[in-house]
């Protein structure tokens, strides 16, 4: 088990040495996804704004949440990032089969390629999110910096989540359909446009037992409520640590085996 962990760490270290490869590939990916379009990656921003606008207009009157636009804008930004990363991770190694079978690049190079690609894509949505938050009316406070800390935490755990899901998806291809469905349903089971209460009912249970809740809250609470959600960090941080350990072990286990599975 320790040897898997060390092998996983070695793979990531080798990938860091090859950062010019995954940076170049990630930039290629963004360009390819918007080739032949007039607006290019700006579509990422437009999609985010359209999505957020629709939510705010349709659900704005149904949910008695103050600063609903900020609540939705930040929540949706985090959710869309998490959802996209998870959905793309499952089939990552299958998509990279040509490189895995034709080069000796560390597997973590592909993980970092997707991480980088996701961060670039998130950057476009983030610009829209920042504009909504700034213009929604809340006065800017120093506590907002905690949202940046939370985002850094989410970005830091992204390679681990990608690794874990990509390895699982390589060994269990059906997972991509399971995950696609879970993420579809997850959008409604995660407090993006609704708020948890203390009624003790189903809604409260979903709020508490959904791990994504805590990742949304650590980003959203400082901006939305001017608070540092320590209770959410108490759940999110251990999840990040466990995810990294599991990811490194799974990568160490599979780094020389995966090529026979694809």
């Amino acid at each position: 088990m320790i040897s898997w962990l060390l092998a996983g760490i070695a793979d990531f270290r080798a990938a860091i040495d090859k950062r010019n490869v995954w940076l170049a590939l990630a930039i290629e990916d963004i360009g390819d996804q918007h080739r032949h379009t007039y607006l290019g990656p700006l579509w990422l921003l437009i999609n985010y704004l359209a999505f957020t606008g629709t939510f705010v207009i349709i659900f704005g009157r149904s949910f008695p949440i103050p600063n609903f636009a900020i609540y939705v804008a930040v929540g949706l930004f985090v959710w869309l990032y998490i959802s996209e990363v998870i959905t793309l991770s499952i089939s990552l190694f299958a998509r990279e089969e040509g490189f895995i079978k034709g080069t000796t690049l560390p597997l973590a190079v592909y993980v970092m390629r997707l991480t980088m690609q996701s961060l670039i894509r998130a950057g476009y949505a983030a610009s829209g999110c920042v504009v909504i938050v700034l213009f929604a009316g809340n006065p800017i406070e120093a506590v907002w910096l905690w949202s940046l800390v939370a985002l850094l935490l989410i970005f830091a755990v992204t390679p681990a989540a990608i690794t874990l899901l990509a390895v699982a998806g390589a060994y269990f291809p059906d997972l991509q359909f399971v995950v696609a469905n879970v993420m579809r349903v997850g959008m409604f089971l995660t407090p993006i446009f609704w708020i948890g209460d203390n009624s003790g009912g189903m809604r409260q249970a979903i709020y508490q037992w959904n791990p994504f809740t805590y990742f949304l809250e650590i980003v959203r609470a400082p901006v939305y409520a001017g608070a540092i959600p320590l209770d959410a960090y108490a759940v999110a941080l251990p999840i990040c640590i466990v995810t990294w350990i599991a990811a490194l072990m799974s990568l160490g286990f599979s780094r020389h085996r995966l090529v026979f599975v694809l």
């Binding site: 090859k18 490869v21 390819d32 895995i100 079978k101 034709g102 059906d174 020389h256 599975v261």
Partner: protein, 243 residues
């Protein structure tokens, strides 16, 4: 000193039934070829078994054998894609490999971008690749196609590009899987000349092919594989004399 020493090399991998909800009676065929052994859940493939040989600077080894004999598998073990399960490999020299065109290239990217990416993958700097770009493009003779996506290339054009990148980067050991067979006769001649230059400057070429004429023209040593085991290793002349 450039060299390859392979001692009693073996590669065995388990035949895994994919964890899928679909009824899956056949074992996964994703791995390399070889002999299938065992039964039920404990099926395994012996892709390479007891393979030993040594090559020194200037050698041009022809890998021959029927489909599934282990030629490509051996190349991939030498390149480091597959890790052997037994035996040892000692390689001195910078290795590059040319496999199928679908492996290790980005089909959506232009030829020019692929040259850069391939260089970065092989550990070259962006500056170095940009400095050698025109030389690579000139050797490939792809002209304006160099700025077209590689998906628009014919097999021969893709082969030209891959061969040009790999050989211009001056690998000390070049592993090739049927590649020189692609491209027209004139480019094949050009490629042979470049391979001769490579071996003349103390390199090693390993070429897997079914084309015995090609092997005969290019190589000075032959390694014949049958079911993952070596049936012949020695000089080209005695191999073809005994046939």
């Amino acid at each position: 000193m450039v060299s390859i020493d392979v001692d009693n090399l073996g590669l065995v991998y388990g035949v895994r039934r994919k964890l899928t909800l679909k009824r899956n009676r056949l074992p996964s065929a994703a791995g390399p070829g070889g002999r299938i052994g065992g039964s039920g859940r404990n099926r395994y493939v012996t892709a390479l078994d007891g393979v030993s040989f040594s090559l020194k600077a200037g050698d041009r080894l022809g890998l021959v054998g029927s489909n599934g004999a282990g030629k490509t598998t051996l190349l991939k073990v030498l390149y480091g894609i597959y890790r052997p399960t037994s035996g040892s490999i000692s390689i001195n020299g910078r290795v590059d490999a040319l496999f199928n065109v679908s492996l290790g290239f980005r089909r959506e990217a232009t030829g020019r971008r692929n040259i850069l990416l391939r260089g970065l993958i092989n550990g070259r700097s962006r500056r170095e690749m940009e400095a050698r770009m025109e030389e690579i493009i000139a050797f490939s003779e792809l002209g304006d196609f160099i700025d077209m996506p590689m998906s628009a290339y014919s097999q021969g054009m893709a082969a030209r590009l891959a061969f040009s990148v790999a050989t211009t980067l001056e690998p000390e050991i070049l592993l090739m899987d049927e590649w020189i067979g692609a491209g027209d006769a004139r480019f094949q001649q050009k490629a042979r000349e470049r391979m001769n230059e490579l071996t003349a400057t103390a390199g090693i070429v390993v070429l897997a092919s079914h084309n015995e004429q090609l092997i005969s023209r290019v190589c000075n040593k032959i390694l014949a594989l049958e079911g993952g085991s070596v049936s012949y290793f020695g000089s080209k002349n005695s191999y073809f004399d005994t046939k």
